[in-house]
């Protein structure tokens, strides 16, 4: 398996599928501690990405991610639009014009995405935000890549599993950023919707390579 432009297109297609399938779940999670719009916004954003992919085929993974960044930034709205837009843009920049992504480049792209989210949203680990899914994913991908893994699927799986565990770990946290922070201690006991959508995106990356 190589992570090339075809893989990227399949990844983004699976992202759109995942957001449509989990739309109601994300709305429900957001209803509990936010304002009930996350599932709707993510679904609308990735449907727009899907439409763009139908118009033209990107030549590199980086080009696919850049197109995704611009589309999410202009279609999603809320905090998620600029945050995911920045994440995909930084990842695209990290990948450059490479035709294929090796394990180390994937770890670097995830780190760049996470750094972009932190720079825009000013959230830290433990604030009950999407950062709590991204940082464990970055660390796991880095460890797998540094462990000499030449199996790119293994690195994708490591990142996705860490993001999923990171999303679950937001349950007891008290939100300190984003709309859930207005709830204070009442935000504990609910899973952060942004961390869940982040995990869905990284899981779709595995699906595209499987």
């Amino acid at each position: 398996m190589v992570l090339d432009a075809n893989w990227a297109v399949k990844w983004l297609t699976l992202c759109a599928q995942a957001m449509a399938e989990h739309r109601v779940e994300l709305i429900e999670l957001d209803r509990a501690i936010g304002d009930s719009d996350h599932g709707e916004n993510m679904d609308r954003g990735f449907q727009a990405v899907l439409a763009k992919l139908g118009e033209s085929t990107p030549e590199t993974p980086g080009a696919a991610l850049k197109m995704t960044a611009m589309t999410l930034m202009s279609k999603v709205g809320g905090a998620a639009g600029p945050l995911y837009g920045t994440a995909f843009l930084r990842a695209a920049t990290a990948l450059g014009d490479s035709a294929q992504i090796d394990p180390s480049a994937w770890a670097d792209a995830l780190a760049a995405a996470r750094d972009g989210i932190v720079a825009r949203g000013k959230a830290e680990s433990g604030d009950k935000t999407m950062v709590d899914a991204w940082t464990p994913a970055v660390d796991a991908a880095r460890a797998a890549a540094d462990g000499g893994s030449t199996d790119v699927l293994g690195v994708l799986v490591a990142a996705a599993e860490a993001a999923e565990a990171g999303a679950v770990a937001t349950d007891p946290m008290i939100a300190r950023k984003g709309r859930a922070s207005y709830l204070g201690e009442r935000s504990a006991g609910h899973r952060d919707p942004g961390a869940v959508s982040s995990a869905l995106i990284l899981r779709a990356a595995v699906g595209a390579a499987a």
Binding site: E40, L83, Y182
Partner: protein
């Protein structure tokens, strides 16, 4: 829940189309991307005022586009901030060369999207200043939260900064007036019932028949705490106490009292709240010099209200009294 809509996905678009038809003499509606501008924009030599945010708070913001208030309003999806691809063209459309002030309610999404659009506008040579509204005392402001929300005070900032721009103030002066209003206004709200976002289909939070939610925002998000239902006077006391404490209202202060309905509460009840609020302010030695009562910044069909108190000085009073001609506020013309 029953709603007078055709399709949840077309709520904003169809509502804005109707708004444009109803107020064709006042505004021009751009449909793709969606934004609303003052009919005579850009007004030569005048600083442009742009605000925006999620839909569902009507008449905010489109209802305040017109002479003496906003030059453009940018509505997002319901309770979702608009995107830079809407905010940028709205900003460019109202720039006469004197620069543009963005009035932004302090929510993570609104801040990020307006910040991005502001940077893009600057790159196109338009000077942009941002006035951040964060008047909600229900949220404890600290480094560990997203900060206080922008709520009722937004309407007052838009009116008064709008009047400053209309009289010919420069870019920095208009922004400074907006910031002065924000610094002198505090708001606290209560919900008697939740609201239902069209695409979600179920109420934004669950509230029992005998419960009320204190310290709500304007997005149907839950507030600070939940208490058993009380009478109007007790609720009014409860809302005003933190407002007066935080604003440090003292004897001799002149204020504007704004009792705002959240969309589902009749005007008669808002006046009952207003009546008690005047008494509480009088007990604190403050005089109510100006008033505003009605549904001006709402959360769909939520029942409840917010109370805002703005400390006035002579200039702010004069700007409040200045002529305004918009769909939702009109006097002096």
């Amino acid at each position: 829940m029953k709603k007078l809509i055709n399709d949840p996905k077309s709520v904003v678009q169809e509502s804005v189309q109707g708004f444009g038809l109803a107020h064709a003499g006042l505004v021009t509606v751009s449909e793709d991307p969606i934004y609303i501008t003052r009919k005579d924009a850009p007004v030569a030599g005048k600083v442009g005022l742009v605000s925006g945010g999620g839909s569902g708070h009507e008449p905010l913001h489109a209802g305040y586009v017109g002479q003496g208030m906003l030059d453009a309003a940018v509505p997002g999806a319901v309770f979702t901030s608009p995107t830079p691809d809407q905010i940028l063209p709205a900003t460019l459309a109202v720039n006469s060369g004197a620069g543009v002030v963005h009035i932004v309610k302090n929510y993570t999404g609104d801040v990020l999207n307006f910040e991005t659009a502001g940077e893009l506008a600057e790159a196109e040579g338009v000077s942009v200043r941002t006035v951040l509204v964060n008047d909600d005392v229900a949220v404890e402001d600290s480094l560990y939260t997203a900060g206080r929300r922008g709520v009722g005070g937004t309407v007052l900032v838009e009116k008064i900064a709008g009047a400053a721009a209309e009289r010919g103030d420069g870019l920095d002066a208009v922004a400074a007036i907006g910031e002065r209003v924000n610094a002198n206004v505090r708001t606290m709200g209560v919900a008697l019932s939740a609201c239902t976002v069209p695409h979600a289909g179920t109420p934004s939070f669950d509230l029992d028949e005998d419960e009320i939610e204190i310290g709500i925002g304007i997005h149907g998000e839950p507030g600070r705490h939940r208490i058993p239902m009380e009478n109007a006077d007790s609720i009014t006391n409860r809302l005003l106490e933190p407002v007066l404490a935080d604003l440090k209202v003292s004897s001799g202060d002149k204020v504007l009292l704004f009792v705002n309905g959240m969309g589902g509460t009749p005007l008669s009840e808002l006046y009952i709240v207003y009546r008690r609020a005047v008494q509480v302010l009088a007990d604190a030695g403050a005089t109510v010099e100006r008033s505003l009562v009605g549904n001006y910044i709402t959360a769909l069909e939520m029942q409840g209200c917010s109370i805002s108190v703005l400390r006035l000085d002579d200039e702010l009073t004069e700007l409040w009294d200045a002529p305004v001609h918009t769909a939702a506020l009109r006097w002096g013309v």
